[in-house]
């Protein structure tokens, strides 16, 4: 099966651009599985956060998936287009990564 991931990319100050990537997948695989495969097969520079991979324990992979805030590790890949974008109410760092650390756990708290 083939999924198309339409991903909003870029850094603050750049006009956001949407890039689409096709990834093959097996039934049951997660959006995070697709993003990890995409880095290995197509574009290793794509930035997204994750730590625990599939246990939904670290809560780092939160992003906008088809317009809804969700975890990439628990949403399944589907055939056709899935749109991915950074969290809209958080400061953008790059691609799908936003500033989600609590302010007192940042290097520069006021940044």
């Amino acid at each position: 099966m083939k999924a198309t991931l339409a991903i909003q990319r870029g850094t603050p100050g750049e006009a956001p651009r949407v890039e689409s990537f096709d990834v093959t997948f097996e039934h049951g695989q997660s959006v995070l599985d697709g993003l990890r495969a995409l880095r290995c097969e197509i574009d290793p520079s794509l930035a997204f956060r994750f730590s625990c991979i599939n246990a939904n324990a670290c809560k780092e992979c939160m992003m906008l998936i088809d317009g809804r805030v969700d975890y990439a590790c628990t949403v399944r890949l589907k055939e056709g287009v899935t749109t991915l974008a950074p969290l809209p109410k958080k400061t953008l760092i790059r691609d799908l990564v936003t500033e989600i650390a609590p302010p007192d756990e940042r290097l520069w708290p006021r940044l």
């Binding site: 850094t11 049951g28 997660s30 290995c40 520079s45 625990c52 760092i93 940042r106 290097l107």
Partner: protein, 575 residues
């Protein structure tokens, strides 16, 4: 002057000064930071991930062993006997004794911090686990002990004013001056800037190396970076050939939103059956090798791993390459009773245990080896400490279940306290030159996209799983050593980069620099150890060899790994 590098490290580094730097914010690192602060030190707690989110503790679902004597009378010496027996002659007895003796105090402290240990009839409930002579394992509940532990330590940290927490900070190298640890150099991921940290003591709390393997039960950031940091700083590693595999990690169908090692408590409760492709139970075929069966688990972890691997090699594996785990003989109501709402989470993954089995296979779970430390948790490099899974020696050739979180607490607290003591007595040995090599490395990064480093990491993980996995031969290990050398050449000595902010390519390169060194540190002692003991099983050298009742040490000098041997530390005081 034009900056040479193409990344944020070209800017002047941000500099931070502290008494104690703790690297890694899992259970051990958080405990170390709390204890160092309690001893009066200023602490920086740094993690490459967000604070308290990465590492193994948050993923641990299971139990925490300590001789509390709540369920049944117990003494830490009994716990020690079981720990030493599991370690098959290789435990550092002094570290193991610390773990067992301090365990109850730390579990009671966590109880006072309201972690919520499960209770029964007014006492902390302790469960029986394989390898223990009596019920000794506390838990919060079967699927959330680790998250509860993490949450408790995080809330203590939030209240500890002396601890500055900094997430998203990748430590590149420990800074060493005149042979002593004096701080570290780091990459700040969101900005791409270099950071230097001056510290009077440095604590490595980075966890294990299970991320070196294709299938593992830990977070993505467990690639063994602390071992590489320690080696390059001049420390020794011990028992690196002993990687523990958890026999029944989830394999198929794809299970998301849950920890892959979740099946164990349910198997324990309900007696799940391991079946091969003929739908035949096979554990008994291997049971004669094991004299330590507790009657409920037929096989201990290392033997169950062996049994499943053998069945797969004999062509009797499940479609995805493991064994079936079946609960079909259990009435549906009993499954619901044991699994509760987990049944619904499984249903969302298309799993109905009453209808069909799942597939399981051995999965890299824990590393017995690690930084060689003395009883103060200090490495041979003054000022450099280690704690938690990053420490080697306490568990010998095989870890007893329930000891991992206990060691995170006990060694974390001790390392934190001793690091603080050193910091409060000593002067800063910091000098900017100590950070210069790592800063130069970051500044030298160049934009490159071939080879794809994310794919190289996948290749390394497959290589480790297939040739340095639970069952080893000289031929496989030699091929692994050659392949690791080839990958080292492929990535070269100049970091790759792709962006300034949050650059995953630069992180992959820094990770590979560590992972390849650590992969060698596992492969070479595994090749040298021509016997089978605990988690190290050589198909070409079956059985224990008394001549091999020694620990192997790994050091790094002039770009080369050096191996040596040493008799296991006993509790007798040596002159």
């Amino acid at each position: 002057m034009t900056p040479v590098g193409s990344n944020g490290a070209a800017a002047a580094p941000t500099h931070i000064e502290t008494d104690v730097l703790v690297i890694g914010a899992g259970g051990a690192g958080m405990y170390a930071a709390l204890e160092a602060a309690r001893a009066g030190a200023a602490v920086v707690l740094a993690d490459r991930s967000l604070i308290g989110r990465g590492g193994a503790t948050v993923m641990a679902q299971m139990t925490v062993a300590a001789a509390l004597g709540e369920q049944t009378p117990d003494h830490w010496q009994h716990h020690l006997s079981d720990t030493l027996a599991a370690g098959r002659g290789l435990c550092n007895e002094r570290l193991a004794a610390l773990l067992c003796e301090d365990g109850p105090r730390r579990l009671r402290e966590m109880d006072g911090w309201k972690v919520g240990w499960a209770r029964e009839d007014g006492h902390i409930k302790q469960a029986q686990a394989p390898g223990h002579d009596r019920p000794r394992c506390a838990y919060v509940d079967f699927l959330s002990t680790g998250p509860a532990v993490s949450r408790t330590l995080r809330s203590r940290l939030n209240a500890a004013n002396a601890v500055r927490r900094i997430g998203e900070l990748v430590i590149v190298d420990v800074a060493v001056r005149d042979g002593e640890a004096c701080g570290a150099t780091a990459l700040h991921l969101p900005s791409g800037h270099a950071v230097t940290l001056a510290a009077k003591a440095v604590v490595i709390a980075t966890g294990g190396l299970t991320g070196l393997y294709r299938r593992n039960s830990a977070s993505s950031n467990m690639g063994g970076d602390g071992y590489a940091l320690a080696l390059r700083a001049g420390a020794e590693l011990i028992d690196m050939e002993f990687v523990q595999f958890f026999p029944i990690g989830h394999l198929a169908p794809r299970l998301v939103g849950m920890d892959p090692i979740m099946w164990d408590p349910f198997r324990y409760k309900l007696g799940g059956k391991l079946l091969n492709s003929d739908m035949r139970e096979f554990e008994q075929d291997y049971a004669t090798r094991d004299t330590r069966s507790d009657g409920r688990y037929v096989l201990t972890r290392d033997l169950a791993t062996y049994a499943i691997t053998r069945e797969v090699e004999a062509g009797r594996g499940s479609p995805a390459g493991g064994a079936y785990l079946s609960f079909q003989h259990v009435p549906e109501a009993e499954i619901r009773g044991a699994f509760g709402p987990v049944v619904d989470r499984l249903a969302a993954n298309g799993i109905d245990l009453a209808e069909r089995p799942v597939e399981v296979a051995p999965i890299a779970h824990y590393h017995m080896g690690g930084v060689r430390v003395d009883e103060t948790l200090q490495a041979r490099v003054p000022g450099l400490y280690a704690c938690g899974e990053a420490v080697g020696g306490a568990n010998g050739a095989n870890r007893l279940s329930g000891n991992a979180i206990t060691e995170a607490f006990v060694f974390g607290a001790r390392a934190g306290r001793n690091a603080a003591r050193r910091a409060l007595q000593g002067l800063s040995r910091w000098s900017p030159e100590a950070a210069a090599p790592a800063l130069d490395l970051l500044r030298s990064a160049q934009r490159r996209d071939a080879p794809n480093l994310a794919a190289v990491i996948v290749e390394l993980k497959a290589l480790m799983a297939d040739t340095v996995g639970p069952f080893r031969t000289e031929a496989k290990l030699r091929s692994a050593a050659r392949a690791i050398d080839r990958l080292k050449t492929e990535i070269g000595e100049i970091p790759f980069s792709s962006a300034v902010a949050f650059d995953p390519v630069l992180v992959d390169w820094l990770d590979l620099r560590n992972m390849l060194l650590v992969a060698q540190s596992v492969t070479l002692p595994a090749l040298a150890r021509t016997e089978s003991r605990g988690a190290h099983q050589r198909e070409d050298h079956p059985g224990l060899d008394d001549n091999w009742c020694v620990n192997q040490l790994v050091a790094f000098s002039r770009g080369q790994i050096q191996l040596s041997r040493s008799a296991p530390s006993t509790r007798r005081t040596t002159a």
